[in-house]
Symmetry: C2
Subunit: 221 residues, 2 copies
């Protein structure tokens, strides 16, 4: 049926433009938040930062909510791609995989520090539907962490009463790097934060018999 699915080249071009604009605007939002804080993102400021007119934003986003939602979703998508990749690269050992996953979480957070905080603003902006979407995505993107803990437990290397709680705590600690950056930055770099938190978390759950094997993770230099 060639008629029902005509591939018009204009459409492709249009979609390309739409994607370009979208990226352009989200990048501008990120820069703005980085420089002036996340509450400084007004539509006029965003337009100025992106070098476009206010009206144009509304061609590509339905509302300010939509823009903020997209910023948050972008972060969550970064989790969805970066974390599995890091796990993959960490080899077979479940504990190493878990460690890599946590490190990846923290790194993504660090790269989107201000955007990450957006999630915690129970703003009027985000309508219930959008908020639910974010919550769902957040739970979904924490799945790798959960899986890693579970498989560590199954293999007998880890030992814990509540794997899901362990996983969620790690997620929280990654977020905390953004939320409490003013506190942690006084005494730690990102790398130090990652290894300190990891050492602490692992020492709660590494099985006694495997402690020697992970000595490097359990007592960071």
């Amino acid at each position: 049926m060639p008629h029902t699915s005509i591939e018009r080249p204009q459409d492709a071009a249009r979609q390309m433009l739409a994607e370009h604009r979208s990226r352009q605007l989200l990048d501008a939002a990120a820069r703005l938040m980085e420089r002036e804080g996340s509450e400084a993102v007004s539509m006029q400021a965003l337009a100025a930062e992106a070098g476009v007119s206010v009206g144009l934003i509304y061609r590509y986003f339905g509302s300010k909510d939509d823009v903020l939602l997209a910023v948050i979703v972008q972060v969550l998508e970064a989790f969805a791609t970066q974390v599995p990749r890091a796990i993959e690269a960490a080899g077979e050992d479940p504990v190493r995989r878990l460690s890599a996953a946590f490190a990846a979480y923290c790194t993504v957070i660090d790269e989107h520090r201000h955007a990450a905080v957006l999630t915690y603003r129970e703003s009027k902006s985000l309508d219930p539907a959008g908020r639910d979407r974010i919550k769902r995505l957040e739970v979904e993107t924490s799945q790798p962490l959960r899986d890693a803990v579970r498989s560590g437990v199954e293999s007998g290397l880890l030992r814990t009463a509540d794997p899901d709680l362990v996983a969620y705590n790690l997620l929280l600690l990654a977020h905390a790097w953004a939320l409490k950056h003013w506190y942690f930055e006084k005494t730690m770099t990102l790398e130090a934060y990652i290894s300190a938190q990891l050492a602490l978390a692992l020492s709660a759950i590494v099985a006694p018999t495997s402690r020697r094997r992970y000595a490097d993770l359990l007592s960071p230099s």
Copy 2:
């Protein structure tokens, strides 16, 4: 010098009224946040909820910032009184004291769930001075937790490379009960949350030789 400190009964009455109004308004703010979320607190809504006029608020608070600041300070003051009391009541054992402190933190958070979240809104509302004050207070009120961990370490019952990090993490986990209530409430009560988190945190730091002694804390029923 009777002249420099005349005790006029009117002044006492006035101060009493001021305190009453202040409490009335902060209570209304709490109710409003509870019912409609913390972003629904406009001056007009607050006035309506408290059953007073908008103008009156400005007789007792300089600005909206002041009101929000007062709400937050109220929570921090609840920490400052409740936590030491709980520690006191827990006896001599450093680990029991630490546990009691954490439980108290969580309980206070639970009682002021929506107000607690306010701290995380890097709102334009709170000016830098107010924000600094909050940060300072927050660090101050976490001192008992730090002290408890430290004395646990000193007595040899606990073992950790970074007591301050342990203490701050516990504070974070208490906050998390408010921040991520939508997640935790699906599977836990406050009591379950407290003992699960405590079990996890303690199993990372209780010295091997003391594990049996705290078996009840380490594996909650």
